[in-house]
Symmetry: C2
Subunit: 358 residues, 2 copies
Amino acid sequence: MTTCNGAGTTAKPDRSETGQEGQYTDLSDIIRPVGHEMALVEEWLVTNLIDDSPFVGDLLAQIFQAGGKRIRPLISLLGSKASLTDSKDDVAHSEMSRLHIILAVLTELIHSASLVHDDVIDAASTRRGQETVNKRFNDKLAVLLGDLLFAQASICLARIMNPVVVGIYGQVLGDLCSGEIGQMRQQFVCRVDWDAYILKSINKTASLIAAGAHSGAILNARPDNVVAGLKDYGVNLGVCFQIVDDLLDVTGSAQQTGKPVGNDLRNGLLTAPALYVLERNDTSSQRLVELINKRAVQTDEGVEEALAIIRKSGGVEQAQALALSYGAKAKSSLSVLPDSESKQALIAMVDYVLVRSN
Amino acid sequence: MTTCNGAGTTAKPDRSETGQEGQYTDLSDIIRPVGHEMALVEEWLVTNLIDDSPFVGDLLAQIFQAGGKRIRPLISLLGSKASLTDSKDDVAHSEMSRLHIILAVLTELIHSASLVHDDVIDAASTRRGQETVNKRFNDKLAVLLGDLLFAQASICLARIMNPVVVGIYGQVLGDLCSGEIGQMRQQFVCRVDWDAYILKSINKTASLIAAGAHSGAILNARPDNVVAGLKDYGVNLGVCFQIVDDLLDVTGSAQQTGKPVGNDLRNGLLTAPALYVLERNDTSSQRLVELINKRAVQTDEGVEEALAIIRKSGGVEQAQALALSYGAKAKSSLSVLPDSESKQALIAMVDYVLVRSN
């Protein structure tokens, strides 16, 4: 299923026009400029930095062999590389590559840690089509594994030895908690507050993506406008990513997304398509409010009815347009960068995010 | 109840000699050299560094109004001050005081975060005589609160802007996880392995105390031997602290410690007094092994019998001697420091830890 029609700016035809599925779900073109570095990221992810026990190494292997698209380290590495221009910089990049790989790794570690803890907080039973750690084992092990991943990330952060980057990631951890708390407090509250929605999306999703996108440029000592451009790219792409996540909750299938359709609605979370319906205050909107307020969305029939209302009332199309606008802003933020294969890959990443199906 | 007889080296008489209770449980003499700074630590602990929501501030207030002796920030501030000598340094200390207070705060934040998550992992229902967060609310909120405290700590760490200190605390987070995993893997395993016991104690308890004790000297740019002396003090005091914790599990009361007596034994954790009994391999030892292997320690009768064996078999006295030896090592580590009120307070802290009752 195409999430956002007409999102692509590359030469490739949109899937909705060709009827071909999966064309944009292949990240291989985007990975190419940093393929070598991405392989090193995989090695680092399962390297036990904490102690010399094989047990910790085994735990890390279990976590990272469970899958994941590695979008965040990919954005981080591309941001690092795209911020460089001439041959002199290429030499510098080669010298600094170990730090850039550690940066990419820590971005994925924080993402994974927050997912493991989020699954405990949300009592989620499936993630990426597999049982969550809390479901397969228990909450206790999930807490410990999340902490272990945060600890690995902290050790990576220390190795980067850059106080500005430490500050950026410290704030990311705060933003993740702030986003989770904001979301928790808005559960089953039928108030249309777009500012709160965007803020939550920045905290929960965009903050970490933006940190990865622009920290490499800081390590490369690039000018402020380059750093700011990559940060803006990350923030806008992150919000776009969250809106597409919201769309997949309404239009996706459990097979695609690896979690039950309508999962957000069942948890009383107002997604972007739902907010568009609610702000109309018409009959459909009033019925949706009723289903949420009475917790009917927690039943199979209730959530199906709510999803049908959102699909029929144009909420999906409006949210798609919103995602596209953030995607466009992400692309235009890159105008400060010289053209390069990595810059083109960052642009293609926006299209990938817009049409992703999981 | 006196935990370790004859521990004191100060002029004050030991409680076991005077029959007076509580003389060493008063920290006011130890706090005096850093009383002003400790008041600022309290303010910082409840300051929301994450976002501008009053809700986060309220959560922090709830956590820190629940009590706690603030031993770790106290050691951190005393370490900072004791590492300074002459008036020139005093000026430098005054200029750096904000950083030292942040250092003390982050040490307590990490401690509190790990307690909140440990209580989820151990399914503990009481802490400091109060219901734990997981018991009073649920595991989900406890996970989020722990993460929130780690995030606050990360933001503090970033503000210190010192890559060496970032490295020290990154490793502390790893050590805490490593200690927790080590402990989890040794539950109900009746093997006497003192190296594993000491390593677990360093990871779980001493690492954070040592980080607080010597990081201030690093910020003050003190010579290596001063930094190393304060680190050794912290490691030895931390192991001493863990052994006393073990003793309190056998000799304390729920009223004193705020958690059920024999709590460690019920969870299959071999405390120092239990290890001394087990290594004898006599009739008492064999009965203790039986009670642990058959999980009889999980019942009231079983744990009472196990505690009685440990108390009667001299395990308590041997563990007291071990705690004293680590306390003595902690004190002698301070010999590199010039005499000062703060150094005397660090010495008195060892005595406080040795005779503490909670």
